[in-house]
């Protein structure tokens, strides 16, 4: 079921890309309704992403508004070499980093730091208690999604940015590397650490 829903989501994302292209073409032609539609689709997602970079909600709001202005200024030159979503996120992240006063630097990572415990032979010190099948229930999955939303703020910023882009927004690994200026290996380790952290928290949730 998990695989089936993932496939459905990929299908939905392909449709979203096609919708974006049509909306961008209308925006380039000066159609206000297309702008409104894009704002409806992306405003709160941009706000969520901005808040993962800057600490203050009000600064994040300014960053998002500034991003929309940059879209209006630049959309005539947008040629669709990347998807609209990637272009939009690129503008937002650049502005958010400037506002936060920091360049994005991935911390040094030890890929072997797995976040789980093993004994000296490399076997599980405490094997995972099974619950993945229970999560196939739609209501359980929605409850876990609500928990993930609550848990996002406690992830370190670099992990949260990668997780937001990859798993919440469905941005591809190569596009995430370009957006965040990290290597493929680093984005994967950051993403894995974020997933491991969330798995541990959901594990507690499923036991309680």
């Amino acid at each position: 079921m998990v695989a089936a829903t993932s496939r459905q989501r990929i299908g939905v994302r392909c449709l979203a890309v096609a919708d974006d292209r049509a909306l961008v073409a209308r925006l380039q032609a000066g159609d206000e309704a297309a702008f409104v539609e894009l704002v409806r689709m992306y405003q709160t997602r941009l706000q969520r992403l901005a808040e993962s970079v800057v600490s203050s909600r009000s600064v994040a709001e300014e960053v998002v508004q500034d991003t929309w202005l940059a879209v209006l200024k630049g959309v005539e030159r947008f040629e669709g070499r990347s998807t609209f979503k990637t272009w939009l996120f690129h503008i937002l992240l650049n502005r958010a980093r400037t506002a936060a006063g920091r360049e994005h630097r991935a911390p040094p990572l030890a890929a072997e730091d797995l976040g789980e415990r093993f004994d000296s032979s490399g076997a599980w010190a405490s094997p995972p208690v099974p619950w993945s099948e229970e999560a196939e229930d739609r209501l359980v999955a929605q409850h876990l999604a609500d928990r993930v939303r609550e848990l996002l703020p406690e992830l370190p910023a670099a992990q949260r940015e990668v997780l937001l882009l990859r798993d919440l927004e469905g941005v591809s690994a190569p596009d995430v590397c370009e957006l965040l200026g990290v290597s493929d290996g680093n984005q994967r380790v950051l993403l894995h650490r974020a997933r491991v952290h969330l798995r541990q928290k959901l594990d507690l949730e499923m036991h309680s």
């Binding site: 998990v2 829903t5 789980e116 093993f118 798995r199």
Partner: protein, 87 residues
């Protein structure tokens, strides 16, 4: 000696299996590592469950909907659009 080395290359312990899972989920493992991991997963219910739980994390993260857009923000952005168009 060579045979022992070859066997060690073939068999994975759980720690190694977990270390390969991030790249496995990205489809970024080499053919030989993918086969070694899948071979380990066939015989290890713990690692299979762990991978299944990571997939649940990915799946439920994809279900986290953004907040609803409030009318005031939408109105402000429409005003921004009109100012830009008139300017």
């Amino acid at each position: 000696m060579r045979l022992r080395f070859w066997r060690r290359r073939q068999a994975l312990v759980c720690r190694e299996a977990v270390s390969l899972m991030a790249a496995y989920l990205d489809g970024a493992l080499s053919e030989s590592d993918r086969k070694r991991l899948e071979g380990h997963l066939e015989g290890c219910p713990h690692c299979s469950e762990y991978l299944a739980q990571l997939r649940v994390v990915i799946d439920v993260s994809g279900r986290v909907a953004p907040e609803d857009l409030d009318d005031e923000t939408l109105d402000e952005l429409v005003e921004l659009y009109r100012l830009w168009r008139s300017g």
